[in-house]
Symmetry: C2
Subunit: 406 residues, 2 copies
Amino acid sequence: MTPAFPAGFPRLLSGSLPGAANLPAVRGHNAALVLDLLRAAGETGASRPELAEGTGLTPQAVSKITARLRDAGLVAEAGRRPSTGGKPRTVWRLVRDARYAVGLHLDRDELTAVLADLLGGPVAVHRAPFDLGAPPERALEEAVEAVRVLLAPTAPEAGPRAGVLGVGVACPGPLEHRAGVLRRVTGFPGWDGFPLRDALAERLALPVALDKDTNAAALGLALRGADGAGSGSGGESFAYLHLGTGLGAGLVLDGTLYRGARTGAGEFGHQVVQVDGPECGCGDRGCLEALCLAAVARGDTAAAARALGVGAANLAGLLDIDRVVLGGRTVLADPEPYRAGVAAVLAARAERTDGRPVPVSTAPGGARLVADGAAHLVLAPLFGRLEPARGPLTWTPPGGEGVVGE
Amino acid sequence: MTPAFPAGFPRLLSGSLPGAANLPAVRGHNAALVLDLLRAAGETGASRPELAEGTGLTPQAVSKITARLRDAGLVAEAGRRPSTGGKPRTVWRLVRDARYAVGLHLDRDELTAVLADLLGGPVAVHRAPFDLGAPPERALEEAVEAVRVLLAPTAPEAGPRAGVLGVGVACPGPLEHRAGVLRRVTGFPGWDGFPLRDALAERLALPVALDKDTNAAALGLALRGADGAGSGSGGESFAYLHLGTGLGAGLVLDGTLYRGARTGAGEFGHQVVQVDGPECGCGDRGCLEALCLAAVARGDTAAAARALGVGAANLAGLLDIDRVVLGGRTVLADPEPYRAGVAAVLAARAERTDGRPVPVSTAPGGARLVADGAAHLVLAPLFGRLEPARGPLTWTPPGGEGVVGE
DNA sequence: CCCACTTTGGCAACAGTGTTGCGAAAGCGC
DNA sequence: GCGCTTTCGCAACACTGTTGCCAAAGTGGG
């Protein structure tokens, strides 16, 4: 089968829609491709020929790109592969501490701030009590203070915050990630319309990205592999289901976080799975959240898991996803029954449709999951996995100009 | 707010993951951007400055690109805009009959073949009885024959099939669009594993793209606007719900057809909305399809619409979509009650969440909807909306080389 | 009717991307 | 020691969009 269109025929660079492609964009795109492959390669690293194979670039192009990335300090040589009869390949690896990102998780009663390296690994953690019900200005002040405390000891001689790319912030929804504005956080109406992203960006003089807690968690899982086994390579699709105070989901489709135009995607708790079922706080009947939480309240973990499984099966069928990851306080308090219960429902469904059952796992990272993921809101753009955060740029790259350019 | 990263910093061209960007890819990408804007502009057309504004390209780049596209015959000047104090703008429009595509809908008992122009408009239609239960080889023969009949009268002097880009084929699922292979079409096990795409491509000597009927319909709706009002511009998200023999869905997320890795996305009929509900043919209980079809069977349209609405509301919440389009024989036989019923459920939900209700409409295009959409499986790649079809290329562009490239 | 002004859009030179051709470097195996 | 394989850099190249500049083609006021 020959290709359907001659070379140069209109063809996606990836998903099309946004943006014109000019030379800087091409450079950035290909650099991101290489970085993403190196990220996925982890400790193993990757040689130039392997990067060429993986990206579709020519070896010579890879040579130029790795040289630029080396000069920017983002990658470094790390040994060689055994020879296969010729000159041995030089192995490249990501320089973990070349840049940092802050992940900030603002939960109802607690705040978690994480300083993460390029791979998302934790460098420092700061935890503090927090009151989402306090007046926004006061809460904002506490968030700012937490980031300051976190960054204080970093590279004191190179000036504070050297190499910090920005701050990713994760909150309970609803909110609008594109505008960086909170909506009526359940139970905390004072936040409605508060421009959290811009306020934080101004106070911290750093780029800030805002998203829902479930989205941040899902993004983090997408970039490090749900089992912590690295990977997070290709365009896999999965759902992160979070059962805690409420029930929500984060969706990663084809390797990209799917948020919807209004950051409303992942509304999972009020999926109706029992028409004319018991009333839910939302006013509807038979919502998944109501069923799950009722079962949890009466100690019937099996029933809660079964309900969760029905929702997971609906979701898995609708979106043809590759795996399901469970998290949230309720699940993590006693993970196995939930995992097994959800897996059982999915297995039963797979048997009926002659398909492979969708694997189910529980989220690693424990209480830091969301904060770690929030850091990835800032890191992911480097690897071409998300649009960049917005805000003032204070960190100036070594060359003084573009990091990768020159 | 300054941009977060200096120019040239790794940044998405669009959705990342696939493909390296080289110069031909850039050319194709930008050409597709321009073509897509012109497609969305329809009769109105667009001037160079408008295209520059819409794509983000510089006016000079747009000039070069439109010149290439004019030489390829894909676009043409079409009058001028009134002057605003200076030289009036030249209006460009897509040349509808510059290229053609065939859309082939293989249904259980009928076959529809459509010859469509660049905009997806019908040029010729051919309908024939068809038996999906027949041996694959015989069905294949009939499909080939139908395409031959459809193409026979086209441009007899320029050789048959001049300007035909390829054939888009839509079938009932399940199938795998990437491999171009059918799976156990419900009730017709003989098709399991049959490489329909490659077989057709070889017999017709044309590129062929294969997809589910619901996906083809959704793609068609995405590219012409559900109400036939043109548009289909930006990255909107919607769901096409098809109620006929069965119940299925086609999903368009952020302007792109979402199919899932195994073409399994859009599995809507067996979403469980009533745990412990009535048994479904699939072996589960409380499936949407079972509830809907039972209501239809007993003549209770209102109940069928209400059930459909519950499913639509679940879907709309989970994916944060912009609108819902209803179609399929059952709905189209008496559209309004379904539209109103589904809209009512969505409106009630919107009221509870203080959101805007998701608009509901019924699909235009009637019985030809799927066949029209199938043609778009071939057309969409031109506009950067889908990866290209695969198969032998027989149609040689004017220049002898790439269409857009020289 | 003329002239200043605005806007469009082409031409030419340019910066910078990945590509190609070729050769040096660095190992393996006989 | 020598031929062979493989890696990888240098130099020339093709071609992209970009920039600077100017001609073309209108409007509108005097």
